[in-house]
């Protein structure tokens, strides 16, 4: 029972982390129709910025600085790269961000090497928040969840309760009309892109200390974030939240299930046959955990192609 609660909590925290990265991606997509392949690279940049600055200025300021720096890189990418190729169409923009993600990953390898760097939680934050049974729950995980939830709340309030939010939503819904009404849609695009990048950077700065910080983290998280965005529905913030939690919890729970399809089949008396077939049927669910999100995505595409909360078909 303790293990179950713990995997549930871990899954939720991982899901919230995924949400922090996918929020920016889905906002940018909803607004500009651009799938930013480099989005997860901002997550990685955040982690590396925080790691580099942690020594000179301490953990807290480093996280803030990493967030701002990632946002600045995002602004540069939008202003000087994406805008230049905008007239070539969305596929071209997607390819450009793909190339940029490649360059960012290789540049990081150039400066920091191919291996994980020693980026750790500061000792002041490394304590147990509470205890269930005999297991302690690290406070840092709880902190990550709090940051993600605070971010969700702030974004929600900003988008639905402020004047900026109205302009942003108008620019998402009818960019040309918003422009005709005298709003600087270009600036709004740049701002949203920057904020999305900054949020990803914040997620990286916080999560990099807890998980590992290595040059492959962008790809690992990036692929998962794409799955989240497709499952949740492109452009939907609520959908991104739901899908992130779903995927986080499913992967986390699956790791602790030591059963295979053959065990399930033996209930109906086909266990021996399944053992004989081998392959997929005898693989433990725990070793399939990494593939479950993709399977979920294919399933969603079959039964509900627009995603859980998506509107655009």
């Amino acid at each position: 029972m303790d293990t179950f609660v713990f995997s549930l909590l871990n899954g939720t925290v991982y899901g919230l982390l995924l949400f922090m990265v996918s929020a920016g991606l889905t906002l940018v997509f909803g607004m500009m129709g651009v799938l930013n392949f480099a989005h997860a690279s901002f997550y990685m940049l955040g982690a590396y910025f925080a790691y580099t600055l942690q020594g000179p200025i301490g953990f807290g300021p480093a996280v803030v600085a990493a967030t701002l720096l990632s946002g600045a890189v995002g602004v540069v990418v939008e202003r000087w790269f994406l805008r230049r190729v905008h007239h070539h169409g969305h596929a071209h923009e997607l390819l450009l961000t793909f190339g940029l993600s490649f360059i960012i990953a290789e540049t990081i390898k150039l400066f920091f090497g191919n291996y994980p760097v020693d980026y750790r939680i500061p000792p002041a934050l490394d304590f147990a928040a509470f205890t269930i049974g005999r297991q302690q729950y690290p406070a840092y995980r709880a902190l990550m969840a709090v940051v993600a939830l605070a971010m969700f709340g702030a974004l929600w309030l900003l988008l639905t309760r402020t004047r900026i939010g109205i302009v942003v939503r108008a620019a998402i819904y009818r960019p040309r009309m918003a422009q005709a009404l005298g709003h600087n849609v270009q600036l709004v695009f740049m701002g949203v892109f920057g904020v999305g990048a900054a949020l990803a950077g914040l997620a990286g700065a916080i999560a990099g200390a807890f998980y590992t910080t290595n040059p492959n983290m962008a790809l690992e998280v990036g692929v998962m974030v794409f799955v989240v965005v497709v499952v949740g529905g492109l452009g939907s913030l609520g959908g991104a939240m739901l899908a992130s939690l779903l995927i986080g919890v499913i992967t986390s729970l699956a790791v602790s299930v030591d059963r295979s399809l053959a065990d399930l089949l033996s209930v109906v008396g086909a266990g021996a046959w399944a053992e004989a077939v081998g392959g997929l049927l005898t693989l433990k669910l725990s070793s399939l955990a990494a593939t479950l999100p993709f399977a979920l995505m294919l399933l969603i595409l079959l039964v509900r192609p627009a995603g859980l909360m998506g509107e655009k078909a």
Binding site: L35, V229, V230, T291, M297
Partner: protein, 405 residues
């Protein structure tokens, strides 16, 4: 599309003559170039002609490779088919998995399609190491080329000719496909899927067929690679393989038929040539890709067309002059950029850091056969001045030939 027949014959003759002039190491690189060219052609058929951006083509390449390895190992090593026909197994595997994956992926178009293809490839990549029987776990599966039809297939030359025949045949088939009604409809799918649907065509079926054909030739390329390496490892499903084919194809230019193949051959060759000299080849590849996407969206093969247009518009003399100007700028910028990157790479390497820590100062690094001190200004002035001169040349070229260059 115009096909210059004498040029084509000369190209094929050159390829056929290569084993006579090239040393062994380069011949193996040529086989890799041929395989990469076929893979990129298959990819270009999907992304360029059908307008479907796939980020997961490693899945079909890898399936082709593994199917071929299993076919070669069948019947206690004697093989399912004679060795020269082995790539057909790879093609069949690519086709089979392509039909299934394509059925899913082409449900959606555009961006979502790209993400689905990526997810399918990642699904296979995550699953492959678990299925030890099929994919051999971490170590992969090795095999042997069985002698067949009086040929031993032991020498690189024989493998080269086998690869060459298959690659030329496949590229010819892909070219033939562009002239069939199905090929024309593929083009229509890219231009306007809605109108195609109104005209009564089965758009989903067309998408699946284009996807499956591309996957089939990718599988064939994978089969050829397995045949040449005599092994396959689950690393063929890696995202890097998918990324490389995207970069290669677009650097070459998906707009023309041979663009992706030329791009892939060129990039594979450079990758082979510089693999000893630098560790940052992937970085250069990425930078080149981004530059192409930003300044020459039609790819390197499109530059040729631009040159031809320039000659037609302004005559030979200004065209050659501007080509020299742009070429000079490219050389200067490349030299400056590469020098800076290589210097940084050496300064950031772990060996150097340990050395600097031990010596308590910043020792000089060796590059191009002479030492460069990281603390002296002259070291950094060299790449900076190269880059500055290159930038000046670019501005001059843009002012003179703003519209054409």
């Amino acid at each position: 599309m115009r096909m210059n027949l004498p040029l084509l014959v000369a190209g094929v003759a050159l390829l056929a003559a290569l084993p006579a002039v090239l040393p062994g190491g380069l011949l193996i690189a040529s086989i890799q170039m041929l395989v990469a060219a076929l893979f990129a052609s298959a990819y270009g058929m999907l992304s360029g002609r059908a307008g479907m951006l796939s980020f997961g083509h490693a899945a079909y390449f890898g399936m082709g490779a593994f199917a071929t390895v299993h076919a070669m190992n069948a019947f206690g090593g004697s093989g399912l088919l004679p060795t020269p026909l082995m790539p057909l197994v790879g093609a069949a595997a690519g086709l089979a998995i392509g039909v299934v994956a394509g059925w899913f992926a082409t449900q959606r178009s555009g961006t979502t399609f790209a993400m689905i293809t990526l997810a399918i490839a990642e699904l296979l990549h995550a699953l492959a190491p678990q299925l030890k029987g099929l994919f051999g776990g971490e170590s992969g599966i090795s095999t042997m080329r069985a002698p067949s039809l009086g040929l031993s297939f032991g020498s690189t030359t024989q493998v080269y000719y086998l690869t060459l025949v298959w690659v030329l045949l496949s590229i010819a088939l892909l070219y033939f496909h562009t002239h069939t009604p199905a090929g024309r409809l593929t083009l229509a799918l890219r231009e306007n899927g809605h109108r195609l649907r109104f005209l009564g065509y089965n758009v989903h079926g067309l998408g699946v067929s284009a996807f499956a054909i591309s996957a089939m030739f990718s599988g064939l390329a994978g089969g050829l690679q397995a045949l040449s390496n005599e092994a396959a490892n689950y690393a063929v499903f890696d995202a890097g393989v998918s990324a490389t084919v995207v970069l290669n194809s677009y650097i070459g230019g998906v707009g023309s038929f041979l663009g992706p193949a030329l791009g892939a051959a060129l990039m594979t060759f450079f990758g082979y040539a510089v693999s000893d000299a630098t560790q940052s080849w992937l970085l250069y590849q990425g930078v080149l890709f981004v530059l192409v996407m930003m300044f020459a969206p039609t790819g390197l093969s499109g530059l040729f067309g631009t040159g031809v247009r320039l000659v037609e518009q302004r005559g030979w003399r200004p065209a050659v002059f501007s080509a020299l100007l742009v070429g000079g700028a490219a050389v200067l910028l490349t030299a400056g950029g590469v020098f800076a990157v290589e210097l940084l790479q050496r300064l950031c390497s772990q060996d150097y850091r340990a050395l600097a820590q031990a010596a308590a100062e910043l020792p000089a690094v060796t590059l191009l056969g002479r030492p460069w001190s990281p603390t002296s200004v002259s070291t950094w002035m060299l790449p900076a001045s190269l880059l500055a001169c290159g930038t000046v040349l670019v501005f001059v070229a843009r002012r003179r030939f703003g519209s054409a260059a």
